[in-house]
């Protein structure tokens, strides 16, 4: 750790994340599961705080590792300040406060309903099976609620920078399409069509089977049973008063994502299997006029140094064989990574690409986050500088 290199000097002015952390106030880390999004998000926030901009990292990663790496025993749904002493002890005196929180998806949804639902219907909504399906399994619902929380934090707090670590997205579209999908759930012609008789009657808990007697309802109920249909109808009736406030919020969330001071950081692994996904994600962000600050290729394996081979050749035979086998594996991995990076680079033009090497130890403490941030912010470049 070298605090001397901390100041964002002119050497770094052209570094994409230095620029982004300075100019933006929301950075959203996106990518598929297991690529190290959480580590990247935490490293960016740590760096911003050390450099003098107050920062919050908001994660959804249930791994205790992030909490531990920040020196906390655990993270909750509330924003927690990382004690300055802990940062100082790690040789990283903060220029501004650093906060972290772990988003609890279920709790955030519940709070959302509590804020927006008519008081007499809250309980009915919260206890419905359909609400559970909306808040847990409906594609895009986790992504949506994470963005909703982001909007809340932006509107009601004054962090210099919020770094949002998003849920591992199975399909890139889930993320950008989330507001629409959730809107669709709340406000759909279908519910009006199916519920028209009940809505006219205006009574909740009404036996809804004036429409239940229809041909279509009878046919569906052969599959689902009539009780399921009735329960769904009651649920829709209960949420039907929320449409307008929900629509308005979805528009605000959408606007925040495309705002001038918001940018995305696309975190990827250096492998070809995920290339289509990365390209698709990048294209979608651009099509939606959302700024991509950088593509971060995380955990890149560096090739062995040429001198490693000659040094290995001088070892006694048994040890030599083992070392050479390991060098060959490392070489093969590095070559694969190199190939993947070239592909990612060419598919994500003109977004700048940043490489973070694979460290021999997993990132598990402030020193590890700081080390990661040195690559993210361009103090160290791909190569052997850090390990020499």
């Amino acid at each position: 750790m070298k605090p001397a290199t901390r100041a964002a000097g002119s050497r770094q002015a052209d570094q994409p994340l230095v620029e982004a952390a300075r100019r933006r106030d929301v950075l959203i880390c996106v990518g598929s599961g297991g690529v190290g999004k959480t580590t990247v998000a935490a490293s960016i926030a740590l760096r911003a705080a050390v450099d003098g901009k107050s920062a919050l990292v908001c994660t959804i990663d249930p791994a205790r590792r992030l909490a531990n790496s920040l020196g906390l025993s655990q993270l909750g749904n509330a924003e927690t300040r990382i004690a300055a002493e802990k940062l100082i002890a790690a040789g990283l005196p903060p220029g501004a406060p650093l906060f972290a929180m772990m988003l609890d998806i279920k709790q955030t949804w519940d709070e959302f309903i509590e804020r927006h639902a008519p008081p007499n219907r809250r309980e009915q909504i919260l206890s419905s099976r359909f609400y559970r399906s909306l808040s847990t399994t409906l594609a895009g619902s986790q992504e949506y609620i994470a963005m909703e929380k982001l909007w809340q934090l932006r509107a009601h707090r004054d962090y210099g920078l919020i770094v949002l670590d998003t849920p591992p997205t199975a399909h890139a579209l889930d993320f950008l399409d989330a507001p629409n999908r959730v809107l669709d759930f709340f406000d759909n012609e279908a519910s009006r069509w199916l519920l028209a008789p009940a809505l006219t009657a205006g009574k909740l808990g009404l036996q809804l089977f004036n429409w239940g007697g229809s041909y279509i309802a009878k046919t569906i109920s052969k599959l689902t049973g009539t009780e399921t249909l009735q329960e769904l109808a009651s649920f829709m009736l209960a949420i039907s008063g929320m449409n307008e406030s929900f629509r308005q919020r979805a528009r605000q969330v959408r606007a925040l994502l495309a705002a001038e001071r918001t940018a995305f950081v696309l975190v990827v692994s250096p492998n070809l299997e995920g290339l289509d996904e990365v390209t698709h994600f990048h294209t979608l962000l651009q099509q939606n006029h959302m700024a991509v600050a950088a593509v971060v290729v995380n955990r890149v394996q560096l090739p062995p140094r040429p001198t490693d081979w000659s040094a290995a050749a001088a070892l006694e035979p048994m040890l030599r064989d083992k070392v050479e086998a390991t060098l060959r594996e490392r070489h093969a991995t590095a070559a694969q990574d190199e190939e993947a990076i070239a592909e990612i680079r060419s598919h994500c033009q003109p977004t700048p690409l940043i490489q973070v090497p694979r460290f021999s130890l997993d990132v598990h403490d402030l020193a590890g986050l700081w080390r990661t941030s040195r690559f993210l912010f361009g103090d160290d470049q791909r190569g052997h500088t850090e390990m020499d």
């Binding site: 399994t137 052969k222 290995a312 390991t326 490392r330 093969a332």
Partner: protein, 303 residues
């Protein structure tokens, strides 16, 4: 030797990104090679198994990949259609009702219905008979949804039985449940990686399957395993060569994590752990799957 391949239905699950599809493909290859007519099912996923086995992408229609080996991507829309047609008998009724866009919207939000029709389709193929009365498939291998989704997927039959009044649907659910809970017929295989989160999720999943779905996992496949290579004496001998020492220490760390996580999985799940070595051969494809199948084959009793 672990007797996995004597079950007719194998359900393969684990955290996203641990290599479920590769392990499912390798198990399917082994099963077919052992002479079984084998169907491998992906569940509403980006189809990968066809590519992994060196063939074209597999769609919603069952397709023959090679001798005795078929694959299908089970998706909710098609499964719903097949199921509805089975019940409604008439295509015209199906069209009138299910192709109504309001109805489509409606069905999407009914919890469990998608899972029910997909699981129903898989179990239908397990029971399906050829004209001569022989089963169409001897083995069905399911590349199941990832942890978090797999328990709702497999417990759908139970959920339906609990919530739907007696009738056609609950009879079907009851039959499905009997198949899943029959330990002689069905086994779950958990796939993991020697890393903290995947291992924790594997342990949670194993417990949840047993307690919530009454399906007993029979084995864990620990993928990308690194076997120990460098002894303490080796590391000592490299003391004065920092670059090689770092290389050897990196390897030793991976090996230690691999061994520790294997031990943890064995201890907490009380299951055999089959290790598959990390592969260093470029893009995943047919060759990788064959390499995995060879490793698994030496640990499994083929039937």
């Amino acid at each position: 030797m672990v007797p996995l391949l004597d079950r007719r239905l194998l359900i393969v699950s684990g955290k996203g990104g641990v290599g479920k599809s590769s392990i499912s493909a390798a198990l399917a290859l082994l099963s077919a090679r052992a002479g079984n007519r084998t169907l491998v099912c992906e569940v509403n996923a980006d189809a990968r198994i066809g590519h992994l086995l060196g063939g074209p992408e597999v769609g919603a229609q069952i397709s023959l990949l090679e001798e005795r080996l078929w694959a299908v991507n089970v998706r909710p829309e098609e499964a719903m259609r097949e199921y509805a047609l089975m019940i409604l008998k008439l295509e015209s009724i199906y069209k009138a009702v299910f192709e109504n866009r309001f109805v489509r919207y409606f069905l999407r939000f009914i919890p469990s219905l998608q899972e029910l029709v997909m699981l129903g389709k898989i179990l239908y193929h397990l029971e399906e008979k050829l004209p001569d009365g022989e089963p169409r498939f001897d083995k069905v291998i399911v590349d199941a949804p990832a942890t978090g989704h797999v328990v709702p997927f497999l417990s759908v039959a139970k959920v339906i039985m609990d919530t739907v009044p007696a009738g056609r649907l609950s009879r079907e659910a009851s039959a499905m449940r009997a198949v899943l809970e029959d330990g002689k017929l069905t086994a779950a295989v958990l796939v993991s990686l020697p890393e903290e989160m995947p291992v924790n999720e594997t342990i949670e999943l194993g417990t949840a399957l047993e307690q919530q779905v009454q399906i007993s996992p029979q084995a864990v496949v620990l993928n990308a395993f690194t076997a120990e290579r460098f002894t303490a004496a080796d590391l000592e001998a490299l003391r004065l060569k920092p670059s090689l020492l770092e290389l050897a220490q990196g390897h030793a760390l991976l090996a230690k994590l691999s061994a520790d996580f294997r031990e943890q999985l064995e201890r907490e799940l009380k299951l055999p752990v089959l290790t598959v070595s990390r592969l260093y051969q470029g893009r995943f494809g047919r060759a990788s799957i064959e390499a995995i199948a060879d490793q698994l084959g030496s640990m499994l009793e083929a039937r």
